[in-house]
């Protein structure tokens, strides 16, 4: 293979992505304060990989996912997605361009009970993206839907095609949602906590399915979750978010075994382990999570950090620096 083809542009590249929400105050409702939901986030996802975005509520992970699918418009920054061989900044697309973009990027949502229209059959739901993008005719669509349903494990497809969501279990619904996301053969899928509302025994089925499909169809994932154990199984790279910023990023196993940022450490030590003989130490973190409202120009984690020092308070939020091979941390004290 020629050398220049081996160093390809990543599928998704995000630079300086920000989303600010105004808080209204005053008699005439002018925005005086802003919530910095996502604040200057940078990352890239190579082909066929899956990046996990982990964090607690208020970390900005869900908003980032929505930004990548353009369910929400960014306040600033670029989102470069490689469509048809060349990178396009989708951050400001409108109209036709946006519609074309949607063929390449799809989303799977958290709640299998809410993300399917209860008045539409399985066929209607899964074929809708084809209809919207004007692909094929009814016969052709039915064939594609059947193929995809079989692929996601809804077999036999003919039995399920014309059922309604209330006739399916949670796991089955989520499979239908996955089929819907895949039918336009996207190159990139944003999965927002797709298994958190499912029972444990069903969860693994869906997780395994998503991994199989990633291999078979070459799909790249952004996997959003608060559950580090799930992230371990579903992702090869991980980005930990706190109050709108990425504080650590790197290979999943690497981060889980050698966490560098104090927040990552705290997060890992807080996860309960299914071993009653193990005595787990409490996480090394103070205070409680805050809202990123007009954050002060210092490290966002300063209030809660066990290692906080003057350098952290006097300077802006630390930039991401490579502290190990492919392992990036945003901390002055590491």
């Amino acid at each position: 293979m020629p050398a220049d083809m081996m160093v390809k542009e990543p599928l998704v590249k995000v630079e300086g992505l920000s989303k600010l929400y105004p808080l209204t105050t005053g008699i005439f409702r002018e925005a005086r304060s802003f919530i910095h939901a996502v604040d200057g986030v940078n990352f890239s996802i190579p082909d066929g990989e899956s990046l996990g975005l982990v964090g607690e509520s208020g970390s900005g992970k869900t908003t980032t996912g929505k930004l990548l699918v353009r369910l929400v418009d960014p306040t600033a920054g670029q989102i470069q997605v490689r469509i048809n061989g060349s990178g396009t900044d989708i951050a400001h697309l409108k109209g036709r361009g946006l519609k074309t973009f949607r063929r390449h990027v799809q989303m799977i949502f958290q709640d299998p009970y809410e993300s399917l229209n209860p008045r539409r059959t399985v066929f209607d739901t899964v074929s809708e993206p084809l209809a919207v993008q004007g692909i094929g005719d009814v016969v052709e669509r039915e064939r594609q839907v059947a193929e995809l349903l079989a692929l996601v494990g809804i077999t036999p497809p003919d039995t399920f095609m014309f059922r309604y969501p209330h006739e399916l279990s949670g796991g089955q619904r989520q499979r239908v949602a996955i089929a819907r996301a895949l039918i336009v053969l996207p190159s990139f899928i944003v999965a927002d906590e797709p298994t958190s509302m499912l029972d444990v025994s069903i969860r693994t089925g869906i997780m395994n399915l998503m991994q199989d499909l990633a291999e078979k169809m070459g799909v790249t994932y952004l996997y959003i979750t608060h559950d580090l154990a799930v992230a371990r199984y579903m992702t090869n790279r991980l980005a930990v978010m706190y109050l709108g910023k990425i504080v650590e990023m790197g290979g999943t196993e690497e981060i889980l075994q050698h966490p560098l940022h104090p927040y990552t450490r705290a997060l890992l030590s807080a996860v309960p382990v299914p071993d009653p003989t193990l005595k787990r130490e409490p996480p090394d973190i103070k205070g409680s999570i805050a809202k990123a409202i007009d954050p002060m120009p210092r490290c966002r984690f300063y209030d809660r950090c066990p290692m906080a020092a003057k350098v952290c308070e006097d300077n802006d939020h630390p930039p991401l620096e490579e502290k190990g091979p492919g392992h990036w941390v945003a901390c002055y004290r590491v």
Partner: protein
């Protein structure tokens, strides 16, 4: 909370200005020649045109219109001998308030109380009966109902007078003015209302459990009643007041019946919604008694959307009460309005519209503030779930 009130009043003031302007445009937009319709002599027309400032350019008219509104000068009546419109209102407003306020209040309270009961205890025959009553109330045509009630209670049974605000014979030559007595009755009403509310709040603070509270409330009410009674007896106007009240009874009952239905049916629905809420289960788990469960955990919350809806209902109830005033010849603003329309008395009609606008706006603001006061979630923003 205070900030909310200020903001609300500020917005109300702006609305008021816009409203008055729209009325002015309405006035200018009347398609026919008013003076021709009113069949006024041409000399009189000239006077009136001048009095109504119609000989001035449009902007000047607008200026006087708005100025008059804010200074209480609503012009003079075209038909009633140049009486200032404001003077007419001062005579007519108290009877309207005496009728409308208790009517809406009682209707609302009855609706809430019945709605609460049938929302809580389902499936009894009582529920069916009350629901039918509510639907009847909601769907009745006001004047028709009034005629029916007058026929039964006034003409057939003879228990109550069929019309008017007073029995003329009783008052002739006594020197007592109807407007004055009505005004005092209204004052009594308002003072009593405030006293009752204070009493209720005091009972909540003084006693923690139900029975002592009830005792306090009853005692307080008894005292209030005696105070009011003796005050009126002492003034010597008691028989006149009673006469007015006797005439008030039938129209009031009609208004209450007409207005309770919608509230009751809505309250029942909201009760059922709230019953499914999580905190009700928790309250049951706490061992809270059924009565407290119903009142504190369900009704108190179910009340809020009903109150919000009530704000919208209010103008409609007012229209109903105006129609009733006409049917009963109850000498209030409504009766005046109909009379003025009959007589083509334009200034009076416009004046009534302005006044109704202000009243409704005030009611709207008052209820908005009440809703915010009752629902803490509306007072401070929910910062944790953005």
């Amino acid at each position: 909370m205070a900030r909310y009130v200020v903001r609300r009043l500020a917005r109300a003031a702006i609305t008021l200005v816009i409203f008055q302007t729209l009325l002015f445009i309405l006035l200018q937009a009347l398609p026919w020649d008013y003076f021709h319709l009113a069949r006024l002599s041409s000399a009189y027309q000239q006077t009136l045109r001048h009095l109504m400032r119609m000989d001035l350019p449009l902007w000047h008219q607008y200026y006087y219109w708005m100025k008059g509104f804010f200074t209480g000068d609503l012009g003079v009546s075209a038909q009633l001998g140049h009486t200032p419109v404001m003077r007419l209102f001062l005579n007519r407003l108290p009877p309207t308030l005496l009728f409308f306020l208790p009517g809406t209040l009682l209707g609302f309270m009855l609706g809430i109380s019945l709605g609460k009961t049938i929302g809580w205890r389902r499936g009894s025959r009582l529920e069916l009966g009350i629901t039918l009553g509510g639907v009847a109330s909601y769907t009745s045509f006001a004047p028709w109902l009034a005629f029916v009630l007058v026929n039964i209670f006034a003409l057939w049974l003879g228990w109550l007078p069929p019309e008017n605000i007073i029995t003329a014979g009783l008052w002739a030559g006594s020197g007592v003015l109807v407007e004055v007595v009505v005004a005092w009755l209204l004052a009594t009403l308002l003072v009593s209302l405030m006293a009752m509310v204070s009493l209720w709040r005091a009972s909540l603070i003084l006693a923690r459990s139900a029975w002592p509270r009830r005792v306090i409330n009853l005692l307080g009410l008894a005292l209030l009643f005696m105070a009011v009674w003796s005050a009126w007896m002492a003034s010597g106007w008691a028989p006149y007041a009673l006469d007015i009240l006797e005439h008030l009874l039938l129209p009031l009952a009609t208004l209450v019946f007409l207005s309770f239905g919608e509230t009751m049916l809505l309250m029942r629905t909201t009760m059922l919604d709230v019953l499914a809420d999580d905190h009700v289960l928790v309250a049951r788990a706490k061992g809270v008694s059924p009565a407290n469960l119903r009142d504190r955990h369900v009704a108190r919350i179910a009340l809020l959307p009903v109150l919000a809806r009530f704000i919208v209902q209010l103008p409609l109830i007012l229209i109903g009460s105006f129609a009733l005033e006409r049917v009963f010849f109850w000498k209030g603003m409504g009766e005046l309005l109909f009379q003025a329309v009959d007589m083509y008395d334009l200034p009076v009609v416009m004046g009534v519209l302005s006044l109704v606008g202000i009243l409704m706006l005030l009611a709207h603001v008052g209820l908005d503030i009440l809703v915010v006061w009752l629902d803490p979630r509306l007072r401070k923003p929910d910062l944790f779930s953005v």
